[in-house]
Symmetry: C2
Subunit: 321 residues, 2 copies
């Protein structure tokens, strides 16, 4: 009887590491999480990832010989050929050979790419992307991430910074400071954090507003709050959403004029707003995009949620091994 083979997907985040054992078709058999150990610039992570997979395999009655490979996403600039990490601000890595370490421990093929790229691969394989050859994926979370597939392949670029779309400059003068050192990045204008900041500014400016009332009650205003009370007809919240979707629509239109995608997938926490986000976003996009570019593409909300990364990891193994 032929031995059943599996793949392992790993999605390394700043606070937790998600892992899964999947079939070669991308079906998740088992998934789990461990906390991210950021001690000593994250240099324990390779060993801890290896150990947690090793234990889980043993507990599942599987052996490494049944693992075709491990596909890993990391919030980092990565040399995708070797799995060498140039830098990860979130984890603390700097010139860390994650690929070599993991390969040395696991003795199976290991492939590493940027986490947002892997999420794009996952969504394109089994989620909202429908296996198109030209996709843009935008993740609106605490920050703004991106992944691009062109001619059927992930766009990695010259030194692993392709699709770092959160750092498109959208405000050239007086923009909010970004973690990257610049000001006025897309991330400071259209992330969950940006929506919260703008809502807090609106609450400051309008003490009688529902926004300010909510803040007094909850201590803060989250992006979700903004969408919730906009739905109740609050004009200040609607204005924040209008401003954010206008900037985001402009940014995506300018990306689309370059890569001409068939599908644009919007994921991350903010995407849970669904049509409340997509409808003004599409309108702004159509204002700024070349009509023919606009005709070619469809906006869709991401479907795989937090599993996109590990499923993308499985795809990476499938494609590259």
């Amino acid at each position: 009887m032929k031995t059943q083979m599996y793949v392992v997907g790993v999605d390394i985040g700043g606070t937790s590491i998600k892992a899964a054992i999947l079939s070669e078709e991308g079906v998740i058999n088992h998934k789990w999480e461990i906390p991210t150990n950021q001690a000593e610039q994250g240099t324990h992570i390779a060993l801890e990832v290896y150990r947690t997979i090793d234990e889980t395999l043993a507990n599942s009655g599987l052996s490494w010989s049944q693992i075709k490979g491990v596909g890993v996403g990391a919030p980092a600039f990565v040399d995708t050929d070797t799995g060498y990490v140039y830098e990860s601000v979130n984890i603390g890595w700097k010139h860390y050979h994650l690929g070599e370490e993991l390969r040395g421990l696991a003795k199976v093929p290991v492939f590493i790419d940027n986490d947002a790229n892997l999420a794009a691969l996952g969504e394109n394989w089994l989620g909202a992307g429908k296996q198109t050859r030209n996709l843009l994926a935008i993740t609106l979370g605490t920050g703004v991430g991106g992944g691009a597939i062109v001619n059927g392949e992930l766009l990695s670029g010259a030194n692993g910074t392709a699709a770092e779309v959160g750092h498109m400059t959208m405000v050239t003068e007086g923009g909010a400071p970004c973690n990257c050192g610049k000001n006025g990045c897309l991330e400071t204008e259209a992330s969950a954090r940006a929506i919260s900041r703008k809502a807090n500014e609106a609450a400051d400016a309008h003490p009688d507003s529902l926004l300010n009332e909510m803040r007094a009650h909850n201590g803060d205003i989250t992006a979700k709050d903004v969408f919730d009370i906009a739905e109740q007809g609050d004009l200040h919240s609607e204005r924040v959403i209008q401003e954010v979707t206008d900037t985001l629509g402009l940014a995506i239109a300018n990306m689309a004029v370059l890569t001409n995608p068939a599908i644009i997938v919007i994921g991350g926490g903010v995407s849970k707003a669904g049509d409340q986000l997509l409808s003004p976003l599409r309108k702004a996009f159509d204002t700024y995009a070349l009509p023919r570019t606009s005709e070619a593409c469809e906006f869709r909300i991401a479907q795989l949620g937090n599993d996109a990364g590990v499923i993308g990891g499985a795809y990476l193994v499938k494609e590259r091994s």
Copy 2:
């Protein structure tokens, strides 16, 4: 003796069609031009292109059996798989099967792509691109064109509008009208025509300026004039160059954050300004690009001039036949 084989490159423009017979290594043996016949929505062009090649081959003592293929660039949205032209505003084509017509006449493989894409291929093969796997090429002529190579392949996109970077929206309110129907496109802010328009505006606002004096003398102010008198220290011209390179630097930074190129080639008439253009452009780019994206890439002036298109055509034949 093995028959020497050749390729034909054709670059169809709005006013003239450039053609060349090249070796398989891209060396031009013979090149010539014919006027573009725009009569009847450009439907005579396929036959005229065939005939001019046929005559030139005969005059050169060559036969079609020595032609490996014809690579054609057209100022159009093209289905690069078939050579079907969706539309060309400049030529008048709309749903014109240029590829099929030319193949039917020439009985050799014919490959068609967008003219700016072909120029990018040409520059990358034998010009400023040095065969990098990740290149952006920007052509600053009457309009602004672009071509992008990613993962070693030309970016074509979902419906042939990839790298239409002249239509990135750079001014969201009150921008100048563009031929595409939108306002405030990169083309209306950074083309030769845009530089001339901005200089004329400056001359209107400053009747005592050198710009206005030059206009009174020459009847107009060209982009070349602006660079020439800026070099003589004229502040109004310098301000125009500053504004244009700032917008262009922002646009290219936002493209580069998406595709992460190793080389950015600037071509077209405006690129003849050389360092007078590149120096402020690079400065603006570095202000707006992610530092790591900026580190990865080098700006270079295009090297092949008007031959980029036919050389790109030859490369298309080499790659795809």
